[in-house]
């Protein structure tokens, strides 16, 4: 099963988003990671790499990110990790919900889950 990692500058935000996505995601593994590792806001590549390991069950991981440095740190973590992982270019919460649903399909792949996450870019709210 494809796993998910949710990266936010705030650990609380990452956990909350993982909770919301988990409501729809059945058995999908969703790992939240956030904060600078010192109790402040930020993202750190090491923490993301650990989350990739936690989320992976062999079929790879799709990573959802919030702002700026989350992208760069996720890229570094993916480069140094052995887990097959990709970043979805999607809004972090809507993308995580879409991805969690997509991951429940028996035919889900990292690519199909990323595609569904990125489909959240076009969601209109009004």
């Amino acid at each position: 099963m494809v796993g998910l990692v949710v990266v936010s500058h705030s650990a609380t935000a990452a956990e909350g988003i993982a909770e919301v996505a988990g409501e729809m995601g059945g058995d999908t593994r969703i790992e939240p990671v956030g904060g600078d590792g010192q109790g402040g806001f930020g993202t750190v590549a090491d923490g993301i790499e650990d989350a990739l390991d936690e989320a992976d069950s062999g079929d790879g991981v799709v990573v959802l990110v919030d702002l700026g440095s989350a992208v760069m740190n996720a890229e570094v973590a993916i480069e140094t990790s052995d887990v097959k992982a990709v970043i979805a270019d999607a809004p972090v919460l809507e993308g995580a919900v879409n991805a969690a649903v997509a991951a429940t399909s028996s035919k889900a792949t990292v690519e199909s889950v990323r595609e569904q996450a990125e489909a959240a870019r076009g969601v209109e709210k009004l």
Binding site: D36, Q38, A45, D46, G68, S69, E75, V76
Partner: protein, 234 residues
Amino acid sequence: MSDQGEAVVAAVAAVADRLEAERSYLTDLDSAIGDADHGGNMARGWAAAAEAVADMADPEPGDVVKTAGKTLLSEVGGASGPLYGGSLVFASPELADGLTAETAVAFAETYLEKVQDRGDARIGDKTMVDALVPAVHTFKKSVEVDEMTPVEGLSKAVAAAERGVDFTVPIRASKGRASYLGWRSVGHQDPGATSTLYIMEELLGVARERLDVTEPLPDDAESPTVPDGEVTED
């Protein structure tokens, strides 16, 4: 420990001291247009890097740079971790044969390439790239075309970085956290360009004191390759 390895360890320590001294100033700059963490992040990360490299047994320049970069990557957080630390790690193999005019230029170019690749920023976006691009291009030209010693070239590069920092003041940010502010970013000096300048100033100080890389490129070295349009007169 090789003299060069020792010099690079000293350079990391000098950068750590400087960034600790500039901690509040960098934080002030970052609180104007960012999230006010640059001073603290850089001071903390480089202090950890200085500690890590001081503990190395028989370090060579490339290993010291790699260790410093890895430490920054895990300690700095934010965008500065990957940009400063990740780029040091990526460029460190260029110093595998020690510090020479050629390896120093190759290192600088690879570092710049990684920063630009990772951050996707160009000149004029109001980022560290505004200091780094003129500095690296000036260094390369000074060493390869004007046949200066690497230390003289580094001194020219520091002057170019300083002009790059000044250039960040009047422009509007289009990358990084500051870009969310739009026109409100105008009139503020970029913290990343500023810390990049401080790092280079400390490298120059240590190089002047401790490095015997005073020879220009030997005559039998490959003729300098200057990509068209890349190196400009400053």
